[in-house]
């Protein structure tokens, strides 16, 4: 740090020096005057003897100067001047670097915001998701959530754990808020005691839920999200203590959570206490997400062991009612697989983002190769200048440093432009990014991204500057000076560097084109899959929920839904309408239960596999375009008559009875006291969880069913998705009429999740299309940069070989021979590049296996097509300069000497 102090103390040094010199002169004058000299003369004599004060001060200052810094400043000034002398070169190089850096900075900001930054909670590294798997409970624990927690599990874990500071469970849902301007369906998160404590984010206004709020049937309480508070109450702080109607129940507002707060990955409007009733809890009911905060120093492995220890306690402490065997869950093989909350939020998107980052990084390398190529050409043209500088005494190191300073400056200037572009780029990426990309709202260019960009710029500058600088600095002074101005034939060695660069570019471009090609094939394969519904653009869907408190009597719920269907069908342009508990790919939590078949024998201690089930209205299949494979749909009279009928999916029918038609007439039920239901129809398989996931086996129950738990009113499906087939789907006027139709049946029913099935479908493939777009952009950039690279090298060679070509033509070579000569050189480079690229692609595309669907990472068709395309394009890039070579006039070329 000595040099730093020196830098800052310099001013003081200089001041002291001046003072000292003045004192010297004064003393001298005084002495002379004392010796009898008149003062004027004494002054002059003193100055004469002292010498040139200005020069002496400067010489003294020089002693302290910092030579390296000053030389680098000189290099920068010199570099700027030379760059400004060749504006075209500078512009092309800058633009290439800027685009490369912009793409990298934009993608890095996403990687950084989504993957690297800690979650937005205090001490987020202590937070974990209580993830468990249950290989024995096929279906229920199949998907990304694993086996969720039941209330009794929550009680057991909360009471007996040794590794957590706090833990809680939560669940998302919807609720109707009424009593204000217009009924509205809002997103809710219901939380147990411990969730807010675990996340540790204090409320913006008011307070958290207390334990009193978690008492079953206690006072109704609710907290608001910041957004809902602003939207509905204009951010009024006096809202605390006010009552609102949530699902027709009065709830008092106790607090508002701060801006940007989410429950793990869920946005919400309202949050309510779960208020579990300990006395009524049973073993089952696995519907709740668990989160916890580890004790300081506790590891995830210890927490897993802790949960494993508590599972037997859980089975011993609770039951599923008299006569049931609590240890049946041992067959589920429940295993704790706790992971960090961040991992839970990010999910599997990490792999995708790293693949995108990697491809964009390759683009940067290709861009660097292009700039390096330009620099090689340029530094060659500057041979004479460099030789003169060397002859005048500049050392090799000094010249290398000068050239490097120049290229690093190019890098940094490119970086500056790039950051500007990146701001636009990030906005673009966020716009096209899948809306289910986690932490999308957190994406921004922050200090870390800027630091990354700066380092990248400098590294890029060093990378593309080093080879030209080392290659051309210093040696061969004599020859360069001698040959200055004469176009001698170019040495082989000088070409080697550029040829290598082109080969590298072609190879990298091939890898990127391969990855983009595989994504295109994936997308095409996905498009070909029948999702289980037809013409989604003309399918309007929306959710309507009828709470207990609004209509208590179940049959009246179904009649209301039926009445809505009739009103909807009467709208002009509507072909048909139906409803179902959930449409495919909608992403709501699905329902699973054990399904028993009448003609099957189940051993005492076993339970049948869990099956996804839905409730479906007559007419839905036809509306959605889901094909009936065998049998028939149920009818409204069967629904109202509580007839025991059911439909199943084709794969379930095949699994249980071999063929779809064999399933007709067979009987099913969920649990022993439920009446057997007769299979009347078999429905085509549906890609419930998105195209890439296999279609699950599904049981379709009627919307209104007898109460299976004994006497009492039947059970209706209160929350359903209405599906309308119309060419006018999605238009404003249509939606207004739909809203009016629903209101005419019951004015307290809000619509939620109003979309077309196309939007639902697009969202479910959003990750794939995002990857496709990103890799497509990267591959396009790589291809165009590669073309420019090949074109540049070939045309430069042609201009260098003008004289040779002239001689050939003069000796009788035909235009075709020359064309061949040049094309052969280009083709050779392209072929070598393609060969290396194929080798690299074979290794690298394997990394994206998980992103592919319906195509292998080594798909031969893609390889052949991409290699062919690349060779063709390379030939084309060579053809233009080759064509020019044939037009060389031998006389002119030779006379030019």
């Amino acid at each position: 740090m000595n040099w730093l102090r020196q830098l800052f103390s310099r001013q003081r040094l200089y001041r002291e020096l001046s003072e000292e010199i003045q004192a010297h002169l004064d003393e001298k004058i005084e002495e002379l005057v004392a010796g009898g000299m008149p003062e004027r003369e004494a002054k002059q004599a003193a100055l004469r003897e002292f010498g040139n004060i200005g020069l002496i001060e400067e010489k003294s200052r020089e002693v302290w100067a910092w030579p390296l810094v000053e030389e680098v400043f000189f290099d920068i000034r010199y570099g700027l001047r030379t760059l400004s002398h060749s504006p075209v070169f500078t512009a092309v190089a800058l633009l290439t670097i800027a685009i490369g850096i912009a793409a990298n900075a934009a993608v890095f900001s996403i990687v950084n915001s989504v993957l690297l930054k800690p979650l937005n909670y205090p001490k987020a590294e202590e937070l974990v998701a209580l993830h468990q798997v249950a290989p024995g409970a096929e279906g229920l624990a199949d998907f990304e959530n694993g086996l969720l927690l039941s209330p009794s599990m929550y009680f057991t874990y909360a009471d007996h754990n040794q590794t957590f500071q706090s833990l809680g469970v939560w669940i998302t849902g919807t609720a109707n808020v009424t009593g204000m301007a217009e009924p509205e369906q809002v997103r809710t998160v219901a939380v147990s005691d411990g969730v807010l404590q675990t996340l540790s984010v204090p409320p913006a206004v008011g307070r958290w839920f207390s334990q009193v709020d978690q008492v079953p049937n206690g006072p109704g309480r609710v907290m608001l999200s910041y957004g809902y508070w602003q939207r509905r109450f204009g951010g009024d702080r006096r809202v605390i203590g006010r009552n609102i109607m949530v699902d027709s129940q009065t709830r008092e507002i106790v607090g508002v959570m701060p801006q940007g707060f989410r429950f793990v990955d869920s946005d919400f409007d309202l949050t309510t206490p779960l208020a579990f009733d300990r006395g009524k809890a049973i073993l089952a009911g696995f519907g709740f997400h668990g989160i916890a905060r580890l004790k300081p120093g506790a590891t995830i492995a210890q927490a897993n062991a802790d949960l494993a220890r508590m599972l037997p306690i859980w089975m011993d402490s609770w039951s599923n009612g008299p006569g049931s065997n609590p240890h049946i869950y041992e067959t589920w093989r429940i295993t704790a697989m706790i992971h960090s909350l961040k991992q839970q939020v990010i999910g599997n998107v990490g792999e995708l983002l790293w693949v995108v980052m990697g491809t964009i990084g390759l683009v940067m390398l290709i861009a660097c190769a292009n700039v390096m190529n330009l620099l090689l050409v340029r530094v060659e043209a500057r041979q004479q200048e460099l030789a003169v500088r060397t002859a005048l005494g500049a050392g090799r190191a000094r010249i290398v440093r000068g050239l490097l300073v120049e290229s690093v400056m190019l890098g940094i200037m490119g970086g500056l432009v790039g950051v500007g572009l990146a701001y636009a780029g990030v906005r673009f990426l966020v716009a096209i990014g899948p809306s289910n990309l986690p932490r999308l709202n957190e994406i921004a260019i922050d200090a870390r991204t800027l630091a990354f960009t700066f380092v990248l710029s400098v590294l890029a500058g060093l990378l593309f500057g080093l080879i030209p600088a080392l290659k051309y600095a210093g040696p061969r002074t004599g020859s360069a000076l001698q040959s200055a101005g004469r176009t001698i034939s170019v040495s082989r060695e000088r070409h080697r560097a550029r040829n290598l660069l082109v080969v590298g570019q072609v190879a990298m471009a091939l890898v990127l084109l391969m990855s983009a090609g595989l994504m295109i094939r994936t997308f095409a394969a996905m498009r070909k899959v029948d999702p289980g519904f037809a013409d989604p653009l003309h399918l309007q869907v929306m959710r309507i929920s009828i709470p207990d408190s609004l209509i208590a009597q179940p049959e009246r719920v179904t009649r209301t839904q039926n009445a809505i269907l009739e009103k909807l069908a009467a709208i002009q342009g509507v072909k048909s309408a139906g409803f179902v508990s959930e449409m495919p790919m909608e992403g709501f939590d699905s329902d699973w239960d054990e399904i028993f078949a009448e003609d099957r024998v189940y051993a005492d201690n076993t339970i049948p596999p869990l099956r996804l089930y839905k409730h479906i209205s007559p007419g839905l299949l036809q509306t959605a375009g889901t094909k009936l494979v065998a049998g028939r749909e149920m009818t409204w009279s069967e629904v109202y008559g509580l007839r025991p009928v059911v439909m199943v999916s084709e794969n379930l029918a095949r699994e249980m009875w071999g063929t779809p038609s064999a399933a007709i007439g067979k009987r099913l039920r969920e649990f022993p006291r439920m009446p057997w239901h007769e299979v009347v129809g078999v429905v085509q398989d549906v890609r419930e969880k998105g195209v890439p996931d296999p279609a699950p086996e599904i049981v379709y129950w009627p919307p209104l069913m007898e109460n299976a738990f004994g006497p009492g009113p039947a059970q209706a499906t209160r929350t359903v998705t209405f599906v309308i087939r119309s060419d006018r789907a999605g238009t404003e006027s249509f939606l207004a009429e739909v809203r009016a139709a629903v209101q005419s049946v019951n004015s307290d029913l809000p619509l939620a999740s109003v979309r077309t099935m196309q939007e639902v479908y697009d969202k479910s493939v959003a990750q794939t299309s995002f990857t496709l777009v990103m890799l497509g952009i990267a591959a396009t950039m790589a291809l165009s940069l590669g073309i420019i690279g090949i074109y540049g090298v070939i045309s430069h060679t042609v201009s260098q070989r003008k004289r040779e070509i002239g001689i050939r033509l003069a000796l009788g070579a035909q235009g075709g021979d020359v064309l061949q000569l040049v094309l052969r050189q280009g083709t050779k480079l392209a072929l070598v590049g393609v060969a290396i690229g194929i080798g690299a692609a074979l290794g690298l595309t394997r990394l994206m296996t998980n992103l592919l669907f319906g195509v292998t990472a080594h798909d031969p068709l893609t390889f052949v097509a991409v290699a062919g395309l690349l060779i063709l394009v390379a030939l084309f890039a060579c053809y233009i300069p080759a064509r020019r070579a044939t037009l060389v006039d031998p006389i002119v070329a030779l006379r030019y000497e």
Binding site: L17, A23, V63
Partner: protein, 113 residues
């Protein structure tokens, strides 16, 4: 008045003389010049100012230290003092200078020719 010799000193000579003078006792710039002039019997033509770049070089190398003080004529001046490394440096320089001088003298000595 003797006519001083109009010739530049060889590089390092001035520094050597400064160090030698300071070895006797610390002093400030003006006194240093006067002292060197006096001891050389005004044979050496030294531009008084040229002392200062030389002093700065010695300061930077750590051969001398400087402190503000009051001169005998009651002026605020910087008083220079030889450091331990400066002393060692002086010994080395002087011995190498003596060797060089010996060599030159031998070559210049008459008789052999």
């Amino acid at each position: 008045m003797k006519k001083p010799i109009q010739r530049d000193l060889f590089p390092g000579a001035l520094e050597m003389m400064i160090l030698r003078t300071l070895k006797r006792q610390p002093m400030h710039g003006y006194a240093l010049v006067q002292d060197i002039k006096r001891t050389s019997d005004d044979l050496l033509q030294i531009e008084e100012g040229s002392l200062y770049p030389a002093l700065q070089r010695l300061l930077k190398e750590g051969f001398v230290k400087a402190e503000w003080g009051i001169s005998s004529t009651n002026r605020r001046v910087r008083i220079y003092k030889l450091t331990a490394t400066g002393g060692k440096h002086l010994e080395r320089e002087v011995s190498s200078f003596e060797r060089m001088l010996k060599g030159i003298t031998q070559v210049l000595a008459p008789g052999e020719l």
